[in-house]
């Protein structure tokens, strides 16, 4: 099954599944799941990585992500405001990690819901600073357009809160965002089952990001493959075009077929 490539900031990707690296039982288990998922974009919390450049053996998560295989997408989780997020992104760039950044500013550690005001502020600064910015946002269509206007490479609205596995609870808003945005829309957070990922892709999301559902599965590698298959199926269905929903049954062999013969 071949689907159209995903293009972000002029770069082409053949997998539409982005994978997060938190919550795994070990770095080895994480690396195996990344491999199985077929992903090409991997996000890592900078606060877990060694930013000192000293090769800290107790903070060596980056050593398990092969930069030849994956685009490393550092994220700013831990930052509570624009200033802190900008600082982390610049530090990551200075440490040679990346000039792409998944902009995450969630000051509320309970639900990890993104702060729209600080995110927009930080996005503006980082774009001007030459970063490729992928902001994590609530499913707010106006915010998505505002971010696009300042030059972000994508928007990443949530399906439901991070780690909640509740799937797409923001469908109506996501539909508007997908309808209106000209940059790729990546549904991030809350996707707990492959069917959730497929549903996001059928809606027309350009990609999805999955972490918890893979990381805490009893067999992360198989779950990663299950998500990859669902993403591909959902994307193919979107490209083919799904039939319209009807309130009544429609026979697969229409009774009126004789009229057109």
């Amino acid at each position: 099954m071949t689907t159209e490539p995903l293009i972000i900031a002029g770069r082409e990707f053949h997998s539409r599944l982005l994978v997060g690296t938190g919550k795994f039982s070990s770095n080895e288990a994480m690396a195996a799941a990344l491999e199985a998922s077929g992903t090409q974009i991997v996000t890592v919390a900078l606060r877990r990585a060694d930013l000192s450049g000293k090769g800290d053996p107790f903070a060596n998560i980056l050593e398990f992500i092969d930069p030849k295989k994956y685009l490393l997408l550092p994220n700013t989780s831990g930052a509570m405001n624009a200033e802190e997020a900008v600082r982390l992104a610049r530090l990551a760039r200075a440490a040679g990690i990346s000039d792409w950044v998944k902009l995450e500013i969630h000051p509320d550690p309970r639900y990890l819901l993104p702060d729209p005001i600080e995110t927009l502020k930080a996005a503006e600064i980082l774009v001007k600073d030459g970063f490729t910015v992928l902001p994590y946002i609530n499913a707010d269509p106006v915010l998505a357009k505002r971010l696009e206007d300042v030059g972000t490479a994508t928007v990443m609205p949530l399906g439901s809160p991070i780690g909640s596995n509740r799937g797409i609870e923001t469908r109506a808003q996501l539909e508007i965002i997908i309808e209106q945005c000209t940059v790729p829309v990546i549904v991030d957070a809350g996707l707990g089952a492959p069917s959730h990922a497929a549903a996001a892709m059928e809606l027309g999301a350009a990609a999805v990001l999955v972490n918890t559902a893979i990381a805490i599965a009893p067999d992360p590698e198989r779950m990663a493959r299950a998500f990859a298959a669902a993403v591909e199926a959902g994307r193919a269905a979107y490209e083919i075009g799904l039939g319209a929903r009807a309130e009544t049954a429609n026979a697969t062999s229409p009774l009126t077929a004789f009229l057109t013969k």
Binding site: G22, K23, F24, S25, S26, N27, A45, L46, R47, R48, D50, L51, D56, F58, A59, G78, A79, M80, E83, E84, R87, L88, L91, P107, D108, P109, R110, Y111, G163, S164, N165, T212, A215, I216
Partner: protein, 369 residues
């Protein structure tokens, strides 16, 4: 600041109502079901990761008398306050063992443990340790601002007991007698800019169910007031210490497990801390159930990791300094730890159980301009 009486919690809060119900005695089947829920929720919110930290005791001088604490003013124990260079040497030992998250602990003594001293300790450590937290006597908000600017990220303050009568009976001398000053401390810490705030109650001083419900009510209150803080809860059970205080209300292992799981189920995103006070077999058993943060290889005496401060050891008897009659090797600890396995052993054990020991999950650069 007028705080609610947490010993009379408002059970209209759904989390508290549920918590209160989960403290009722449970049969084996229901306890197993609670444990399973707790384990599943922990995995969902925290994954297969356990954060490791180490306490670094910088001083055991104290002007308070707390019946259950080895550092009480009237205890005739060996005391010392490490100088900043000694604190750094202790911290370097912990960093070499893997710790990237250090909790500075001190008794309350304005002369030895001054704010300037703590600020100097934090500043020196923040340059080398990604995450520095404090467990020290309550302060004013502006003092917290200074410590946060120096690089401190977390503050831990236990109310010890929420029962006012018990609190008054056990805290017989010193500024710690002021229950309300201590109770409002987490909110002052939040106002001062701390990111991680730890609260807790000592188990064994009074009825554990009432104590736990008051602690949960305090947590519920803080979750609303301090919405940007990462809150953690500790449930230390009293351990033997100098002064030979015996807990009047010991908490059985089974009750302890129920309590921990009840916290997890009602407050799924709150960190639960387990220290080396608990014995190894119980710590191992609790691993999958709800714990998110552990200490390992801890020493509760200043200088305990590398023998710093030996030259300045002195005996104090009822607050007065006395020359020790024998050559002392180290200061007296706050309490006896129960799990004495090394950090490397704990990390290996975590891996063997399918958990990722997380040493670093914070970077000082987030806060430092």
């Amino acid at each position: 600041m007028n705080l609610p009486d947490f010993t009379q919690p408002d059970l209209r809060s759904p989390a508290l109502r549920r918590f209160a119900a989960l403290l009722d005695p449970l049969d084996d089947a229901r306890l197993s079901a609670l444990a399973a829920d707790s384990a599943a929720l922990t995995r969902k919110h925290f994954g297969r990761a356990i954060r490791l930290f180490a306490p670094l005791y910088v001083s055991n001088e104290c002007i308070n008398n707390c019946a259950y604490c080895g550092f009480s003013r009237d205890n005739a124990i060996l005391r010392v306050t490490l100088d900043v260079a000694e604190v750094v040497r202790e911290a370097r030992h912990l960093v070499a063992e893997g710790f990237r998250n250090i909790l500075l602990v001190a008794g309350e003594h304005p002369k030895f443990v001054s704010n300037g001293y703590l600020e100097a300790c934090v500043r020196a450590l923040a340059a080398e340790v990604p995450s520095v937290a404090l467990e020290v006597a309550p302060m004013e908000t502006d003092e917290y601002v200074t410590l946060v600017r120096a690089g401190a990220e977390g503050l831990v303050v236990y109310q010890e007991t929420y029962d006012r009568e018990t609190y008054a009976r056990l805290h017989t001398a010193g500024p710690k007698r002021d229950y309300d000053w201590r109770l409002a401390c987490p909110e002052r810490a939040y106002a001062g800019g701390f990111r991680r705030i730890g609260i807790g109650a000592l188990l064994g001083l009074t009825d554990w169910r009432r104590e736990a419900l008051a602690l949960a009510a305090h947590l519920d209150h803080l979750l609303r007031r301090c919405w940007k803080a990462q809150l953690t809860v500790s449930l230390p059970r009293l351990r033997p210490c100098a002064g030979s205080f015996a807990p009047t209300h010991p908490v059985a292992d089974r009750d302890f497990i129920q309590l921990l799981c009840a916290f997890r189920v009602c407050f799924p995103q709150v960190g639960l801390v387990l220290s080396t006070r608990e014995p190894a077999p119980l710590r191992d058993a609790l691993l999958p159930l709800g714990i998110t943060m552990m200490s390992a290889g801890s020493h509760t005496e200043p200088g305990g990791y590398t023998g710093q401060g030996k030259a300045d050891l002195h005996l104090t008897v009822r607050g007065r300094m006395v020359e020790p009659e024998f050559a002392a090797e180290h200061a007296t600890g706050q309490f006896e730890i129960s799990d004495d396995r090394s950090p490397a052993e704990i990390a290996a054990l975590l891996r063997a159980h399918g958990f990722d020991p997380v040493w670093k999950d914070w970077d000082a650069a987030i806060l430092t301009p």
